[in-house]
Each structure stands twice: as C-alpha cells, then as structure tokens.
C-alpha cells in the first residue's frame, strides 16, 4: 500500500515561535552552532488503490487547500513512498541479486 508524504512548513519570512523556543533550548544546553530551528508538519496519507495521475492531482489539491494554509504556510514537498513492508520485500528481492543488499530506490519523489 503506497504512502504519500506531504511536508508543510511555516512561510520562511514568518516568525516560528516553536522553532525559536527549540533553538533557545539547544543554546542553553551548550549545543552551539545552530543559527535557527524551524518546525513544520509531515502528513502521511495511505491509499488502498493505485497511485495514478488522478490521485496525484487530488493529493496536490488536498495539500494546498486543507493540509496547509497558503497565507501562513508552504507545501514544501509531496513524496510518494512505499511502505516499510514493501521496502523490506524489495530489499530481500534485491539481496538475492546484489551483494550489498540495497534494492531499488525507495519510492518516487517530486
């Protein structure tokens, strides 16, 4: 079953108070060298059927209209990934033909 991952971030020009608080905690605990931290959201949408162009168009619309608010956020990535179980299956298939055990690339990205 394919999983679709949508990444959303607060707009770059906006203050991200959550990220700022984390950056402050890093500095307080002596973890220096990080000039900023920003916090976004990752959505995982699992589908039962095939990932075709119609579904991709639907995901694009959902990402822009519901999962994000264009006034305050940007959709920074939509990734079509396969599940861990499928990855494992692919890896074991690949292991039979390659020495290093790494199989096909993990899903399609755009």
């Amino acid at each position: 079953m394919p999983t679709i991952v949508v990444d959303v971030m607060p707009k770059a020009e906006l203050l991200d108070p959550q990220g700022k608080a984390v950056a402050g905690a890093l500095a307080r605990t002596g973890r220096t060298g990080f000039s900023s931290v920003r916090i976004g959201k990752r959505f995982e949408l699992t589908v039962d059927g095939p990932v075709d162009d119609a579904l991709k168009a639907s995901v694009q619309e959902i990402a822009e209209e519901i999962l994000s608010n264009g006034v305050i956020e940007d959709v920074v990535g939509i990734h079509y990934e396969v599940t861990n179980a499928e990855l494992a299956a692919e890896a074991s298939d690949a292991a039979s033909v390659t020495e290093d055990g790494f199989g096909a690339p993990a899903g399609e990205t755009h």
Partner: protein, 232 residues
C-alpha cells in the same frame, strides 16, 4: 432579532455568546456544526474555544464543518457574521476574512483585559461605537498573531477594514497591532478579543469605577440588533 450561535466540537464560549445576545435584547438560537440548517436566524456568531483541539491549524477543521456551507453562503449574501477568537480563526480558514492567525510571538498563552481602539464604527457589529473610541474587553489566546502580506495589510488599511487595533501593548505580535478586521461589505467581522465576556456588571473587566464592572463588549451585540431594527 434571532442570532444564531454555532457550537463546534471544542467550542467553549458558545453559552457566553448566547448570554450576551440575550442581555443585549436579542434572541439567541443554538446551532450545531453538523447541521445544514441555520434555522432562519438573522445573524450568526462563531464563538471562541478550541474546536477539534486546534488540530491541523486553529479553526481549520471546523471551517470544513457541514454548517459552514450555509455560513459562507449567508455571509456572502450579507448576513451579519461575528467570529470571536477561534471563530475569527475559522472565518480566515473559510476564506471569509483575509490574513491568518499564528502562534503568539512570545510563545505563551495570554489572558488579560485588553484595551482596543475602534477603527471602523460602520460595520454591522460596531455601529454603536464611535471611531477612535477605546474599549476594554478580555483577551485569551495562544495563537492570536494576525499576519497577512504587506499588500493585503495595505489594502485592509486603505479600505477601512482594520476594525480594531490593540492599544498600549501588542499582546501577540499581530502585524500593525491589528486585533480584528472585516470583509469588504462590513457584515463579516472577526477579532481575537472576547466582547461576550464584558456584557454584564459584576462579570466584566475592572474599571476605574468598580471591580468587574466593564461592559464594553455589549456594543457589539446591540450594534447588530439596532442595525436590524433600522433596516426593518
């Protein structure tokens, strides 16, 4: 005048809004988010609270409620709609008001009696005030920072659609101290502070005259009722 107050899962101030309508002389009508029926009301209030636990974004899931189809249609047809706090967030998420609300710049939740300046006294919800008048009503939110693009802010200012501005202190990092705005027509108004908590002596903000005697929020509700009487 019958004024509907919509209850969403996680609304907190729906009963307070109903009470404010009653004290102002109107008839409150409890409406439910899952319905498609506005029950013939003459105006609508989207109350404060934490609908759907603020999941996704404040007001985002509530803005997709069944009743919002009718709310959007009624608002576009001219029905007075007031969004308070979480209700304001819903109105921006529903596209009825411009801009958005983000986490307070200081990262904390804030609860205080807040001074506001009425910048536009000609909306459906501010007719009983005068432009430049200062009022004090409670403010309580974690994500009340109003933001919009410079272009949008300039347009809102130019069209007189900045209805309320914070005075004295900007409590949440809102751009240009904006506490509330309206749509072009002036029938849809949203603000982060809570007028419904300042409508009855003994239960409002402190004033110089007496503790908890502030009733500056009453004018919101009497404004919309007065307007309906004038138009009738």
């Amino acid at each position: 005048m019958r004024i509907g107050v919509i209850t969403f899962p996680g609304s907190l101030d729906d009963r307070d809004a109903q009470r404010a309508v009653r004290i102002a002389g109107g008839e409150p009508v409890a409406l439910w988010h899952g319905s498609h029926d506005l029950e013939g009301v003459d105006a609508l209030i989207l109350p404060g609270g934490f609908s759907y636990g603020d999941y996704l974004r404040c007001g985002a899931i509530a803005s997709l409620s069944p009743i919002m189809t009718e709310v959007v249609a009624a608002a576009n047809a001219g029905m007075p709609v007031l969004g308070i706090c979480n209700g304001f967030q819903m109105l921006t998420e529903a596209g009825l008001l411009e801009g958005g609300l983000i986490r307070n710049d200081h990262g904390g939740f804030i609860c205080r009696d807040q001074v506001l300046r009425i910048e536009n006294a000609s909306t459906d919800w501010t007719g009983e005030f005068s432009a430049g008048e200062e009022i004090t009503i409670p403010l309580k939110n974690g994500e009340g920072g109003f933001i919009a693009s410079d272009e949008t802010l300039d347009r809102l200012e130019g069209e007189g659609r900045v209805v309320f501005r914070y005075v004295g202190v900007n409590p949440n990092g809102s751009l240009r101290d904006i506490a509330g705005i309206s749509n072009e027509r002036g029938n849809v108004v949203g603000l982060m502070p809570h007028p419904e908590h300042a409508v009855e002596p003994g239960f409002g903000p402190d004033t110089a005259a007496a503790m908890r005697s502030g009733v500056d929020g009453l004018g919101f509700f009497t404004s919309v009722i007065r307007r309906a009487l004038v138009e009738a």
